[in-house]
């Protein structure tokens, strides 16, 4: 004897060639069925052609650039003649800028190490899966906490004279404050947007701002002895 069937199997009547969800409803329960009927295109050829087209456009830009701008080549390496300033490639200038303020263990080992670890743990730390606005819950407590962190960071950077890194920090702190006093129903689009940002967004955006500012300063505003120079006055 077969056991009594305690489920129903169903498949959409609008069946097409695309794969779809088969649903088993056990013990006469009735879960919320989410419709799933999303249009898909075939990787071959549609997606591949688009990818190829995108790469082709980029290649044209790179070729034009290579025709009009030459890669730098200076005199042969000379260990006895140190250029001033000796700069790392642009993507490390943020770290070199840090090296100007902090000892090498901090700027060259601790900061990059923490950055890499921080990036790796991002997906494992996002407890807030629905990505709720940071201040939508426990507003008072979270506001106090974020202002303490931002304040401590500001004082720390101020004490070490790291004014370059201070600018993005103060900027983000200001935006945080604005977000705390904005509601998702605000009439202002920007404030509505800020009010809905989760904590991970705030940290990553702070990192992005720092990255841009430090790299730009290292590239354009640093001269002999890592002194402050203005690029338009050289």
């Amino acid at each position: 004897m077969t056991p009594p069937k305690d489920f129903t199997a169903a498949i959409g009547s609008d069946m097409r060639t695309s794969m779809r969800r088969v649903l088993f409803i056990t013990r006469r329960t009735s879960p919320q069925v989410k419709a799933y009927d999303e249009e898909r295109v075939q990787t071959f050829p549609e997606v591949l052609i688009r990818a190829l087209l995108a790469v082709e456009c980029m290649l044209i830009a790179l070729v034009l650039m290579s025709l009009f701008f030459n890669a730098p080549l200076e005199g042969i390496a000379n260990p006895t003649n140190t250029p001033n300033p000796a700069k790392a490639p642009w993507y490390f200038l943020g770290l070199q800028e840090m090296l100007h303020y902090f000892p090498p263990v901090v700027a060259g080992v601790l900061i990059p190490g923490l950055l890499v670890i921080g990036l790796i743990v991002i997906p494992y730390f996002d407890i807030n899966i629905e990505a709720e606005g940071f201040f939508l819950k426990n507003r008072q407590r979270r506001l106090r906490l974020s202002m303490i962190v931002a304040g401590a960071l500001t004082i720390f950077l101020g004490v070490f004279d790291v004014y370059v890194a201070l600018v993005p920090t103060v900027l983000i702190a200001g935006l945080l404050l604005l977000a705390a006093f904005s509601s998702p129903e605000s009439t202002n689009r920007f404030r509505r947007y800020l009010a809905q940002r989760p904590i991970s967004w705030w940290i990553m955006t702070w990192f992005l701002f720092e990255l841009i500012v430090l790299t730009a300063v290292g590239t354009y505003f640093r001269g002999p002895g890592w002194s402050w120079v203005l690029p338009w006055r050289s």
């Binding site: 794969m19 071959f44 990818a51 790469v55 290649l59």
Partner: protein, 261 residues
Amino acid sequence: MPSTIETYFDKLERTRVWKSIFRSGKGSSTLHNALAIQQNVFLHLFPTKVRKRMLGLGATWYLGTLTLGTFLVLVVTGILLMLYYHPSVPQAYSDVKDLQFIVSSGLFLRNLHRWAAHAMVFLAFAHMFRVFYRGAYRAPREFNWVVGVVLLLVTLLLSYTGYLLPWDQLAYWAITVGTNISSAVPLVGEKIRFLLLGGHLVNANALLRFYVLHTVILPISAVLFLAIHFWRIRKDGGLYVRESEPGAAAAQPTSEEQKPL
């Protein structure tokens, strides 16, 4: 009437040799198009179908694709550059000078390699931030994000090791500044630096080591991790669909749906 080329191509596709190479067979039906992906050792890393919504410029900005594009440009131009370059002192510098002034299109080749390298670093960062702001790192994609971080580091190291190879003042001092930092690592710093440079100073040994890293070890690592990266996109259910996009909440994919045929 089909053009001559089309007829020839048609005939070619019917030959026994062609059929023995391309397992997907001839045709342009949905099945054949799916097989063209699934039966190809390289393309089968990708899903056979992609949500149409994810193909618009707005979703990924094509940044991952473009990063891959720069990588391919770098492989091709890099191999060509290797034909003219000896990783020895002072030959390396004169080889690069020859590329600039003597080798036909050598200047163009070197420029393209250099600008594509800068573009790749920039695009890898941009792609990372784009993925982050789309929220595409969330489960089940956590590990692919980690693979991405590894790819970012490999990209940075590729660019950095390549920086020394012209053996000019710019190269020499950039690497000196950079490798000095590694001696700041507690306890093992000096050892790491020695291992990297093959000596206490940036010299001919360092050039050779950077060359091997730049042309063998790092590119192979990059290809390996790229393969994992793309394969995981398929296994994780295709590109992440953002909640704020229309109909997205209803379309949370499960990995089962993306199982290959």
